[in-house]
């Protein structure tokens, strides 16, 4: 989706066009759900929260300023949905790994080794405290700038930088030589 397309869909959505908003949902649903899944470690909860986030986004579309970062705005709403859900103290089932990893097709030995590494990485990321995990995933997976992350998480840019630093450091320590190139 180009920037112009996005702006067009936003304007049409703000005018009440469902199909334009559906296009935005289709574009941003996966990344919002992936981030929430990374934070909750619960695919079902992440799906529900994503739905809630988009519904709230639809309701609050008039407050969005065209020209600003729509994706960061969505992440901000998603974060608030997550906070609200935790405030309600809804029990969250803990799953060690997202399903996505197991869905990959089996391949040669090299692929298996690679998959093993990814499993280890995902487990290590899941063990990070959420205060470090949230900015780390926004930076690494979603490629938001530190400034955008600061807005999403309502932190200072310095704090975001420090938390990403901390996450990387902990992960490198935890994974150690598992990240070294495969011997083959």
């Amino acid at each position: 989706m180009s920037h112009e397309e996005e702006q067009l869909w936003i304007r049409r959505s703000q005018a009440g066009d469902h199909s334009a908003f559906a296009s935005l949902v289709n574009s941003y649903w996966p990344c919002i759900q992936r981030w929430l899944q990374g934070l909750t470690q619960d695919p079902q909860a992440a799906e529900d929260l994503t739905q809630e986030a988009f519904f709230k986004a639809w309701s609050a579309l008039a407050s969005f300023t065209p020209g600003t970062n729509f994706r960061a705005w969505l992440f901000c709403i998603a974060r608030h949905c997550l906070i609200d859900s935790r405030r309600c103290a809804r029990p969250v089932s803990t799953r060690p790994l997202p399903d996505a990893c197991a869905d990959r097709e089996p391949g040669p030995v090299r692929t298996l080794i690679g998959r093993e590494t990814q499993t280890l990485v995902q487990e290590a990321v899941a063990r990070l405290p959420v205060v470090f995990r949230a900015p780390f995933l926004l930076r690494t997976q979603e490629e938001l700038s530190y400034q955008e992350i600061a807005r999403v998480l309502d932190l200072t840019e310095e704090t975001v930088r420090w938390r990403v630093f901390k996450a990387r450091k902990l992960l490198l320590k935890a994974l150690g030589n598992a990240l070294d190139p495969d011997p083959s």
Binding site: G16, Q33, F55, P98, C101, D103, Q118, R168, L175, L179
Partner: protein, 430 residues
């Protein structure tokens, strides 16, 4: 470039996958850094490779159905859209603003034609410090930068930002006619410039001198803005004179005027006592002591005194605490404990440390732990909303607890130790 600086860059940079040439050269030379860098790149790649969830899920379909239930001709169920009446009033407000803008423009044009004194310039917010955050927050951020700085250049930048924040606030206070505040802030500004900036800048290596033009530009801006402010408001001229004089002397010293090698240090005592600025005073004093301090245990000690003052400020609020302010102070406290205290304590090697260092480290840990504990003990005194925000801000902040993987209080990036600038700042002044 040193290995320590490279490692800190890798962990903090926004795009470590794209190293600058200087870093690439180091990586080619140094097998240890190359190995570590390879691991980081692999880590980032593996995290990015986590597949996106499918859009073909029931929740998305449900959402689209929920949205479809609203008639498409109707506007979205906007809860934040202003009602008609507000929009009507808004048109009048817009018209008034337009008229005011035109009027101000004409006035300015007319004044320019008659060549009168320039209007008082509005102090622009500094790049590192958004204007809406309280001064104490902004100075705290610079304290943390100093505690984590890569070297003297970054420390100098942090000091320059701190001085700019104090200048901006002084000018605001002068506009309010708060003379005592102006005098107090000008004194703090003088301490930052004369005990921090000048000695640090004079002691910079040839490479580090690149940052001097930025610092000089800040000082010149201070001098110019204060001069204009004094013209516009003769009543505030006295306290502001200190600010202008400080900037002028520092410029001369940094430009190498042989007559002024080092400006005189300001008094350790403030010109007036202002209890409302106690926290700020501690922040500035401890920040000046962090500058050029090589011993991480001592740096942690200075930050732990800041933590102690923050906790006292928070506890003193008691029932009067505003929820947002309590959450803000709580976040500041957790930041300073994590980044100022614990990050430095992590650098103290128990096997290498002498008795004095161990004692200093133990004291810093104890002080920070007590600060957090004091706030937690007093949580019940706070209004419920304030308590909630504060508890969230303090989560995961227990410096007195042993660390576990993933729960440690991290150390900030400290790539290379700053060299001690010639001349140490004197006492803490509190």
């Amino acid at each position: 470039m040193k290995c320590r600086a490279v490692r800190a860059w890798m962990l903090t940079d926004e795009t470590p996958q794209r190293p600058p040439p200087r870093l690439r050269r180091h990586l080619q030379r140094c097998p240890r850094c190359r190995k570590r860098y390879g691991r980081l790149v692999r880590l980032i790649h593996e995290v990015q490779e986590v597949p996106l969830p499918s859009t073909d899920c029931p929740a998305r379909m449900q959402l689209l159905e929920r949205l479809a239930a609203v008639p498409s001709s109707a506007p979205p169920p906007v809860i934040l859209r202003p009602p008609r009446r507000v929009a009507f009033v808004g048109r009048w407000v817009a018209a008034a603003v337009l008229l005011l803008t035109i009027g101000t423009g004409l006035l300015v044009l007319n004044r320019k034609r008659n060549d009168p004194p320039q209007p008082w310039p509005s102090p622009a917010p500094t790049a590192t410090a958004p204007a809406e955050r309280p001064l104490e927050d902004r100075v705290l951020q610079q304290h943390l930068r100093l505690a984590e700085a890569d070297g003297p250049t970054e420390q100098l930048d942090a000091l320059a930002s701190m001085a700019a924040d104090l200048r901006t606030e002084s000018l605001r206070a002068a506009r309010r006619g708060a003379d005592k505040d102006v005098a107090y802030l000008a004194w703090l500004h003088a301490r930052v410039v004369e005990e921090g900036i000048v000695p640090s800048a004079v002691g910079l290596s040839a490479e580090g001198k690149d940052s001097l033009p930025r610092v000089l530009a800040q000082l010149r801006r201070t001098e110019a803005e204060v001069r204009e402010a004094r013209k516009a408001s003769p009543k505030a001229s006295g306290p502001l004179e200190v600010l202008e004089e400080t900037a002028r002397e520092a410029i001369r010293a940094l430009e190498g005027d042989p007559a002024v090698r080092r400006p005189a240090r300001p008094s350790e005592k403030p010109p007036v006592e202002l209890a409302s600025r106690d926290l700020l005073r501690v922040l500035v004093a401890e920040s000046l002591l962090v500058v050029g301090e090589d011993d991480p245990a001592r740096r942690a000690g200075h930050s732990s005194r800041v933590a102690d003052s923050l906790a006292r400020a928070l506890v003193a609020k008691g029932e009067a605490a505003d929820p947002k302010e309590a959450a803000r102070l709580g976040e500041n406290l957790s930041d300073v404990v994590n980044r100022g205290v614990m990050s430095n304590l992590e650098q103290v090697d128990p096997e290498d440390a002498d008795e004095e260092q161990k004692e200093e480290a133990a004291q810093a840990r104890k002080r920070a732990g007590e600060a957090v504990a004091a706030v937690k003990r007093n949580l019940l005194q706070l209004p419920e909303a304030a308590r909630h925000g504060l508890e969230r801000a303090l989560e995961n902040k227990r410096p007195d607890k042993p660390r576990e993987h993933g729960k440690g209080k991290g150390k900030g990036p400290r790539k290379e130790k700053p060299r001690k600038p010639p001349g140490r700042p004197h006492g803490q002044g509190h």
